[in-house]
Symmetry: C2
Subunit: 140 residues, 2 copies
DNA sequence: GTATTTGCAAAATGTTTGCAGCTGC
DNA sequence: GCAGCTGCAAACATTTTGCAAATAC
């Protein structure tokens, strides 16, 4: 598993261990290819690692987010979902029907940012963009 | 007060009443010019309407959001803040230091959306963009 | 006058912490 | 072997619900 190998390496570099629950959480998100809530991740993780506790899921999500392996995404209603992140600066397109996600990285906002900066006087240092729509499978 | 008159009208149109607590919540957000959490809005609202309860604040925030008078914004950590919305499609630039917000509406994402749509096969129907930075007052 | 709204208390939900025992390296 | 990790229970924070009294129109 490529994703797992990368993770093992990343964790080891920082002095962390690749444990069964951590492996399970990553597997779940990789297999889903969709955004999942902590509760749903917990439910699914138990099929890989039987006694995984919800608390561990929360702690693992924080850790994996810090490592850049996953990313928190915000839905319109709640904002408590996570998706696999392939690394580097990227954004997500999320299917409003099945929650499947795809990343894209060519966010060419240079012109827009410059215009906003000029008009508002704010020195812009970061942005956060999410797209919503229907994936090929959910299209009418 | 222009903001209030508009609100009174919008509410009346839908069969809602303009009550003291609702007025207070709107005043607080208008005066702050920044994003505020429900708890902070509650705290400040009491100076306008003494016995405003936290529950009412929550209900009012939902109502005002439905009316388009305010908008929920998501910060990096939590996502439980609200800001005044001037109506129509718009996005916010948020100061990472003092939380002040400014709206902008010229979000020209046409080219970007078309490219993502072509590459991912998703039919994109909405987007959500927030910018972060430092406002003129907080700049070094 | 009446339907809507409020505030309180209490419930439900979601997240974090403390700590003894277990696991990966 | 030992630092780091886990799971449980329990604390904590946040949001929602039920209902009698109050309010706007």
């Amino acid at each position: 598993m490529l994703v797992e190998d990368t993770l093992a390496h990343t964790l080891a570099q920082r002095g962390y261990k690749l444990t069964q629950p951590r492996r399970a959480v990553l597997k779940v998100l990789a297999a889903a290819g969709a955004t999942l809530t902590p509760a749903e991740i917990h439910r699914r993780a138990r099929s890989h690692c039987l006694h995984t506790g919800l608390v561990t899921v929360y702690r693992t999500l924080d850790l994996l987010t810090a490592c850049g392996a996953i990313r928190k995404v915000h839905h319109a209603d709640g904002c408590h979902a996570y998706a696999l992140a392939s690394g580097g600066h990227a954004h997500h397109v999320i299917c409003e029907c099945c929650q499947s996600v795809v990343e894209f990285d060519n966010c060419d906002l240079g012109t827009l940012l410059a215009a906003v900066q000029r008009r508002t006087g704010y020195q812009i240092s970061g942005h956060w963009l999410e797209l919503f729509g229907l994936c090929p499978n959910c299209r009418p």
